[in-house]
């Protein structure tokens, strides 16, 4: 573990230097606000952003990703035999990722990297990626990350954690991957580890103190799935929902996807696209039967998955990192903090 000081004057130059060996992703502002995107060669990550509209999950899990290809032309020897689509898995770095987004990637990893199966697309991208986090000095009013197992200075899932100190960044290098990236930038002004850690602790405490929003999840574990599932409050929670997929798409921990084939002439590709449990299509059988045919069932599925099924299945807390994006983006203001509270405090009436 070591600390590095990076003078902001040298920052852009260092970032540019790393472009030789890394493909960069980071926050940039466009007409619709701040987005985490692949950075063009002349674009610097904007290190003073509050939050991006969407999370950083797309760096590893693009909304549309080509996974397999084949030819449908029977004149070709290998027609109709599918092959993995080419992908670029050379080193990439995501600069300025928020600590809760990095934590979210660790949660998503539990889904894509399992004992039985390894999703090669997600895992290869994950292994190619260096996560350079940016601590949050001034958490926003919707940030409730400290009550979800992460926080403004959380190091979980990061290779480097940067703290903004006005004229410089203080970087805590957490892994060999982080070290390699710092070297590629030419950032090597080592800072005193003990002093820096003290500084980090102070800043972390200050940042955490400003967080006023929280969720309580302590009682979720002890309730049965069926009791929560059959609880009477779901119709009220779901009434205003318009069943768009916004909450799932802005969510850093939502990983569900769809698989679709597309053809052009004789070239065929299989894609995977983000999907959403809010859509009736998500579960509709070919026969027309739909096990989650009603809006309430779908809303319940989303919250039950995040706050109960995941908790029971992995024993790693809830599947929410407290970024507050769904609260902010939901067109009808369905607030996961309120739903969580309702679930946590629910007692079945005998």
């Amino acid at each position: 573990m070591k600390f590095i000081t990076i003078d902001k004057k040298d920052w852009a130059k260092g970032i540019d230097k790393s472009r030789g060996t890394y493909q960069l992703f980071g926050p940039v502002t466009d007409i619709n606000g701040c987005q985490i995107k692949a950075l063009d060669a002349d674009v610097q990550p904007e290190m003073e952003y509050t939050d991006s509209v969407l999370s950083a999950k797309s760096v590893l899990f693009p909304q549309s990703e080509k996974i397999l290809v084949t030819s449908l032309n029977e004149a070709d020897d290998d027609h109709h035999i599918m092959k993995r689509a080419d992908g670029d898995y050379t080193p990439r770095a995501v600069i300025g990722i928020r600590p809760y987004d990095a934590r979210a990637i660790q949660l998503v990893k539990m889904n894509f990297d399992t004992e039985d199966y390894r999703d090669p697309y997600w895992c290869d991208a994950y292994e190619a990626t260096t996560f350079v986090g940016l601590a949050i000095n001034k958490p926003g009013p919707l940030d409730f990350s400290t009550s979800t197992g992460t926080g403004p200075f959380s190091e979980d899932g990061l290779d480097i954690l940067l703290a903004d100190m006005d004229d410089k960044f203080l970087a805590k290098v957490l892994t060999p991957k982080g070290e390699a990236y710092a070297a590629a930038c030419g950032f090597n002004t080592e800072a005193d580890a003990k002093e820096s850690q003290v500084l980090f602790d102070v800043m972390r405490k200050d940042a955490e103190k400003t967080i006023s929003s929280s969720v309580e999840t302590d009682k979720l574990k002890d309730k049965t799935i069926l009791d929560l599932y059959e609880a009477p409050f779901w119709d009220d929670v779901a009434f205003s929902c318009i069943n768009c997929g916004t909450c799932t798409y802005v969510c850093p921990t939502c990983w569900c996807f769809d698989i679709q084939d597309e053809n052009k002439l004789k070239a065929s590709s299989r894609f995977r696209n983000w999907d959403t449990c809010m859509s009736p299509l998500f579960t509709r059988h070919a026969t027309g039967h739909n096990p989650r045919g009603e809006k309430t069932m779908r809303v319940r599925q989303r919250f039950m998955h995040k706050l109960k099924y995941f908790l029971d299945k992995y024993d790693s807390g809830i599947m929410c990192v407290g970024c507050g994006r769904c609260v902010k983006s939901c067109p009808v203001n369905i607030d996961i903090r309120q739903v969580c509270e309702t679930m946590n405090n629910y007692e079945k009436k005998e």
Binding site: E262, K264, A267, S269
Partner: protein
């Protein structure tokens, strides 16, 4: 529909509407000729075309 396509930047001459009876062979030829001339003059369309590469 033609107006909205034009509004989105698809040139007006690429979208044509006509009402031709099965008995109006000459009209059909004329309309098709007119359409192909106009589209040729515009060159290949790159908009609203899916790129699969």
């Amino acid at each position: 529909m033609g107006n909205l396509l034009e509004h989105m930047g698809i040139e007006k001459d690429r979208v044509h509407f006509s009402w031709i009876s099965s008995a109006e062979a000459t009209k059909f030829v004329d309309v098709v000729k007119e359409i192909s001339d106009k589209v040729k003059a515009l060159g290949p369309n790159k908009k609203f075309v899916k790129d699969y590469s």
